[in-house]
């Protein structure tokens, strides 16, 4: 049996890769992929601990998270498309018509 700490470490590593990607990448598409990694890190935790605790609510929630991630990406891609049409680029640091 794999100790539960390993699952926590794996998910923390995947989550941190996602955070790194969010902070360093300028392309909106890379941003979406990084967020996806973060969501899937949560999925690893949920499934592993669903088995550990012996109930299914974690696994069921993972299905919901995946569906919601897909919905979020659909809307996100739409916004990125309009971004490209207006700014001719998907670099998230380019869209700066407003400044404080």
């Amino acid at each position: 049996m794999v100790p539960m700490e390993y699952y926590l470490l794996l998910s923390a590593a995947v989550f941190c890769i996602g955070v790194f990607g969010v902070l360093t990448r300028r392309s909106a598409l890379m941003f979406l992929m990084s967020v996806e990694l973060m969501l899937n890190a949560a999925g690893i935790n949920l499934v592993a601990f669903s088995w550990f605790h012996g109930n299914l609510s974690g696994q069921a929630f993972t299905l919901f998270v995946m569906a919601l991630a897909a919905a979020e990406v659909a809307v996100g891609l739409g916004i990125i498309l309009t971004l490209y049409r207006n700014f001719d680029d998907i670099d998230v640091t380019n869209a700066t018509t407003m400044r404080w």
Partner: protein, 495 residues
């Protein structure tokens, strides 16, 4: 006699959204703006009305648990269903004129209704699963609504930034939920609290999970450290959408925040062993209100000033959680009730202020303070309403904002957080400076010669005036609201 299901306000909103889609499918080419606005207004009014009726009929005196504990209907959820329904009504009525020349009107109304459904459900969410799903149901349509003007660079940029921060914070939040599940093995809010009965296990994992959960709520309520989307999104979005997100979405975010932290993580158990979240919220409240008010004072753009003022108000409302103390009893429900009252009053005065900006955009007036110079000579009625909103937001006794702020600060003092009330009072005094700049511009400054207002925006006028009447009425008839809010807090604390 048949009984309505306790979730009727939410069901009505969702059904109306589908009806709007249906009408658009049947006649996609006709100009159905008025019909769609009428249907949407009926739905939101009905939802708010049913929530108010349920509240007065005493449906909220007990917790109606729905779907095996996933959702709950009590006084808190009905109170916020009413707030969301009212704000959505004002926004839909105002959108009728704002959208007159736009395409895809039906999508706008139905996305507004779907987002309102999500916000209404957030107040009922009773398990971390439904918390997350209802939060996403409110967020995803909001991203689209913010970037609705898809050929306008400001709107697209606002939508992008809102989406980026929203996606990031919801990913952090769901990771937090997975850690809480890892530590407790359950998702329901009440069952989570029950697992602490035998002592708290996995303290580190649980504590980290709770802190990450706060990220999602901080985004929804535009609090520090997830506030920086707010000025951009509110400035770039169509003004009715800014009104909707800054009022209804914030109220719903606070509703779910109140329920999660008081039900799942009782301060008595958590504060000593895991993380003292009332201290965390006290720090967030101070930083949020100070940053919001100081940044608002430096703005030249009215919409952006309102955005930062909205961040500042999130700070005031956070006092309701910061001033909770273990074993507080009546003091706890007093200060939490005060936060809820402030959110209701804020729903009227802030929505009204953003809808006045929508009116100015409709007339083609610019966006800075100077552009508003002398508006009162051309549109005195709307400017009286705007003056009421501004002074009520600042906390002067012309609107309900005075009483709700007073009760909130008094509640903080009563719970032994006089320093928090003092910081809030100083901030409130500062806010008078930038709110009165708007009043000075519209009443005292002279208009430029070419300032001419064309068009008959009946819907916008009706919405702005209704919000103004609501704001003033809450000053006169504050008692029933205060009693309802305190009662809702009592039910939440099971007093």
């Amino acid at each position: 006699m048949t009984e309505l299901p306790p979730l009727t306000p939410q069901l009505v909103l969702a059904a109306t959204a589908l009806v709007v889609f249906g009408i658009d499918t049947l006649s996609p080419d006709d100009d159905t703006n008025t019909l769609l606005a009428g249907v949407a207004t009926t739905g939101t009014l009905l939802s708010a009305g049913i929530a108010a009726w349920f509240l007065s009929a005493g449906t909220g005196d007990f917790s109606f648990v729905q779907f095996d504990g996933a959702l709950v209907v009590d006084a808190l959820s009905l109170f916020f269903a009413f707030v969301v329904g009212t704000v959505a009504t004002l926004v839909v009525v105002a959108s009728h004129d704002y959208l007159a020349d736009q395409e895809h009107v039906a999508e706008f109304y139905s996305l507004t209704l779907l987002a309102a459904t999500g916000m209404s459900l957030m107040a009922s969410a009773n398990s971390l699963v439904t918390v997350f799903i209802s939060l996403e149901l409110a967020s995803i349509p909001s991203y689209v609504l913010v970037s609705y003007l898809k050929t306008n660079r400001g709107s697209v940029e606002a939508g992008l930034k809102y989406f980026l921060v929203g996606a990031l914070s919801s990913a952090i939040m769901v990771y937090g939920i997975s850690l809480i599940y890892a530590a407790t093995g359950v998702m329901g809010l009440a069952p989570i609290a029950e697992t602490f009965g035998n002592g708290v296990e996995f303290v580190g994992v649980l504590g980290l999970g709770i802190v990450m959960l706060v990220a999602g709520f901080a985004f929804k309520t535009a609090s520090v450290p997830f506030h920086f989307w707010a000025p951009e999104a509110y400035e770039g979005a169509p003004a009715p959408v800014s009104a909707f997100i800054s009022s209804a979405s914030k109220a719903a975010g606070f509703a779910v925040l109140f329920r999660v932290f008081t039900t799942a993580f009782p301060l008595e158990v958590i504060a000593g062993s895991v993380v003292d979240w009332s201290l965390l919220f006290a720090a967030l409240a101070v930083v949020t209100m100070t940053l919001g008010n100081f940044a608002a004072a430096t703005q030249e753009n009215v919409k952006r000033m309102l955005a930062y003022s909205s961040v500042g108000h999130a700070g005031y409302v956070l006092i309701g959680l910061a001033a909770l103390q273990s074993g507080g009893g009546a003091e706890n429900s007093f200060v939490l009730g005060a936060s809820m009252m402030h959110l209701l009053v804020y729903g009227f005065m802030n929505t009204g202020a953003f809808l006045f900006v929508a009116l100015a955009e409709y007339w083609g007036v610019g966006r800075t303070f100077e552009d508003y110079n002398g508006l009162a000579e051309r549109a005195p009625v709307a400017c009286v309403a705007m003056t009421v909103f501004m002074f009520s937001l600042a906390g002067l006794p012309v609107g309900g904002g005075f009483l709700s702020k007073y009760v909130l600060f008094a509640g903080a003092v009563q719970s032994g957080f006089a320093w928090l009330a003092a910081v809030a009072a100083i901030n409130s005094a500062l806010s008078l400076f930038y709110y009165s700049r708007v009043v000075k511009a519209i009443w005292i400054e002279d208009p430029s010669d070419d300032l001419a207002l064309t068009g008959q925006p009946t819907g916008l006028y009706v919405a702005v005036l209704a919000a103004a009447v609501g704001t003033v009425a809450l000053l006169v008839a504050f008692d029933p609201v205060a009693q309802t809010a305190n009662h809702a807090a009592d039910v939440l604390f099971q007093l």
